[in-house]
Symmetry: C2
Subunit: 460 residues, 2 copies
């Protein structure tokens, strides 16, 4: 708990109206998109870097935790105040400071909503590709802190690939500038990428310099239905071998399709093992050519149905199915544990089979969907967090699915981060040495463990 | 100096034939592509990770420096034994361990020559884009340690963008595995990118997992002559605004052209301010369309001459000019100080003018060429390292050119690294806070300063 004199001091820095102390207010900042929730001691809403500097100096002096928070859409517990402390809400620092059209660079504050930035740059014929599912509410700051991905990552890469530079407030309250407006920069250690994806444990990101690209001229979307998952996976490999790099290569399994169909009645097949949603973009002639090539390849490799969207309305219908997934799967059970493993692309069929076997063994409802192009699958376990017996089985199943991913040469997390949810499993992938190297970095840069304690490394 | 009992122990680990002790042998490992040279105490040539682990354990016990070395083509002094110690030559660890065509991933040892890997993957229809000028001799390990770039970086990114995972021997002799075969991975801190570009100061890279892409179907090359540099720069911006992303956008200034023409008699113009060499690649129809678009844009924006290569022979002729630059410029003076600043693309004309002004003021010969697409310029100061009066002027000019780059929002080094050459200027860009953050990481991961001491941070 924070003393009232300390709260007073914080109020002086930020103005009383930007410091929330009541239980009701604090409750509103203690959750994210995981099933967990914790109560912070205080919530603050700074508007500038200087205020954050003062707060961190205070935190380092009085040793209270500071937990940066964007929109709270995280899926690994990154913004949960697991050890109490002060929630630092960055939503009021939401200015797009510059869109430099000549150098294809945007400079933004962390609270800018991802979709808002995308709209603004697209008005200018430019493009910011990273597209986490939460993009209509999530913030760029949160995207950078978690190194968010999204369907378009297969062609365009993840958030990391667009962060050119950062302004960071260190735990001591100092200002660190990393990178800049140039794409190439090898001046000392790559701090920009170290802080990107560091989940708020090393510093508070207060400014972000992002690379933009020209907006692709056209795009074309298709849905392909497969009786057999292996044929879908084989098609994906063949598409890429032909030198075609679609923007998205989304995969939905049978259970996912049934959930969506039950929810929306779109006429999805209920007896097929897999559906791919493929989108290609680029110059219009090339897009036309490639979408037809993909169609032919699919038909030659076991596709039951190939549907190319002829217009924007048909394109919307295809994406409606994919977008409905999250809402549809929770119709089965109230709690959704959304996992985020990635495996080498060729291992997708093996991984899906192992996932289904694990779910069967623990008698759990499991919907699998994700990004087939980069092997990033989202197995969603549908359960009830109030059913403690079921949650025990969920826990065991999660342990096994992580184990399987790592055994197949994959990773615990493709795009959601470790947070609290995956902290107990971290060493599975990093080993003891990787864990110790990461912890040495944390200790070197935040010796008093002020910033977002309990994340990545767990409570250890 | 190493004691003879220590040398004995090292010989036991590696076999006597892989430990060089004579002055002649040691002299061969004390230089790189900078004008500097230092004498190591010992040179060792390990063949496997286990040997390196044993050496590092010994180094940490007896506190001698270990300096990893690839082909010695570095331009910032990264492999120079500035404090003596043991040169760890990685050239015998030169196996391509796997080219995984299904997942588009190659796993290699650090001593693999860049061009060799490129040939092998291209035989399979795949492509490894990073192309430092030294690629015919440089090693992948060195490329990763320095985060090498090259002309193709404008479209395809730098080495960092292709490193998916690493095996590293830590200063304690432990094995650290980072990343893996998946493109997406956010499991804890991004150690893969932290070690990439860390110039051998944090660990010895013993295995590298690289992302590959499908080989582009076709490419087309052109040379464009401009009376005025500003017109060349304007064209570059307009090309990108049209959504065309060429593979290369190489720029040569008037002095560079004169040097090349003097050396090779290719018929280059001697009265023009700038030449651009532009190459586009991709599907054949698109390449044809884009090269013509670039041609039209150039003519509409002050180009005096636009020459599109009609065949491979003409393409070779165009590239011959660019490739001859390094050899040509040293015809003027024996010593070439090759700098590597990068500025936001729009600042290229300003930067070139400031560079010319600095060279004029210090009465130095300066040739400027580089990668206009990403604002990465290589101002080459041509001088005589035995002329101490001239070298003093060179020193001052370098300080000013770094200052100018940073003032224009740029960086000290786009692709060569800091090494020893730029260490005195590091804080110009990182500031005190960035310097201390980097040094805290170095201290946390190599507390005894065994690995490549004197680099990045200087002797401080």
């Amino acid at each position: 708990m924070l003393s009232s004199s300390l709260i007073n001091e914080i109020q002086k820095i930020l103005g009383k109206e930007n410091v929330f102390t009541t239980l009701e207010e604090r409750l509103c900042y203690g959750y994210d998109s995981t099933p967990e929730a914790f109560l912070p001691d205080l919530v603050i809403r700074p508007t500038c870097t200087e205020q954050i500097q003062k707060i961190l100096k205070l935190a380092n002096l009085h040793l209270f935790p500071v937990i940066p928070r964007g929109a709270g859409t995280g899926l690994s517990g990154g913004s949960l105040p697991v050890k109490g402390g002060v929630i630092l809400d960055l939503n009021r620092m939401d200015r797009i400071l510059e869109i430099d059209e000549e150098n294809l660079v945007a400079t933004v504050e962390p609270g800018v909503i991802t979709a808002h930035l995308q709209e603004e740059v697209e008005k200018r014929g430019l493009f910011y590709p990273p597209d986490p599912a939460s993009l209509k509410t999530s913030t760029i700051g949160g995207n950078v802190a978690e190194c968010a991905g999204g369907p378009r990552a297969f062609k365009y890469g993840v958030t990391r690939d667009y962060v050119l530079g950062l302004e960071i407030v260190t735990p001591k309250g100092e200002i660190l500038q990393t990178g800049g407006k140039t794409v190439k920069s090898v001046t000392g250690y790559d701090l920009t990428r170290l802080y990107t994806g560091s989940e708020g444990t090393l510093g508070i990101i207060t400014k972000i310099i992002l690379r933009l690209i020209p907006k692709p001229e056209a795009k074309k979307t298709m849905m392909i239905v497969y009786e057999r998952l292996d044929d879908a996976a084989k098609t994906v490999t063949l598409i890429i071998k032909q030198g075609i790099i679609p923007v998205t290569l989304e995969l939905m399994d049978d259970i996912t399709m049934r959930c969506v169909e039950n929810y929306l009645q779109l006429g999805l097949p209920l007896d097929a093992e897999a559906v791919l949603i493929i989108e290609v973009d680029g110059p219009i002639d090339l897009v036309e050519k490639q979408i037809n090539q993909v169609g032919e390849l699919s038909r030659a490799n076991g596709a039951r149905e190939v549907k190319i969207a002829k217009n924007e309305k048909e394109r919307e219908e295809i994406w409606a199915a994919r977008r409905a997934v999250s809402a549809a799967v929770v119709q089965i059970k109230p709690t959704k544990i959304s996992e985020d493993i990635a495996v080498p692309r060729s291992q997708i069929p093996v991984m899906v089979r192992r996932l289904k076997e694990i779910a069967f063994r623990y008698q759990l409802n499991l919907a699998i969907f994700g990004h087939a192009g980069d092997g990033n699958l989202h197995p969603n376990i549908l359960c009830d967090k109030n059913d403690s017996e079921e949650m025990e089985r969920v826990e065991k199943a999660i342990g096994e699915l992580f184990q399987a991913a790592v055994e197949l040469g994959g990773t615990l997390s493709g795009e959601h981060g470790i947070g609290t949810m995956k902290a107990p499993y971290l060493k599975l992938e990093t080993g003891e040495v990787g864990f110790e190297v990461m912890r040495a970095i944390k200790k070197a840069l935040d010796p008093n463990n002020i910033l977002n304690p309990g994340k990545i490394f767990g409570s250890g």
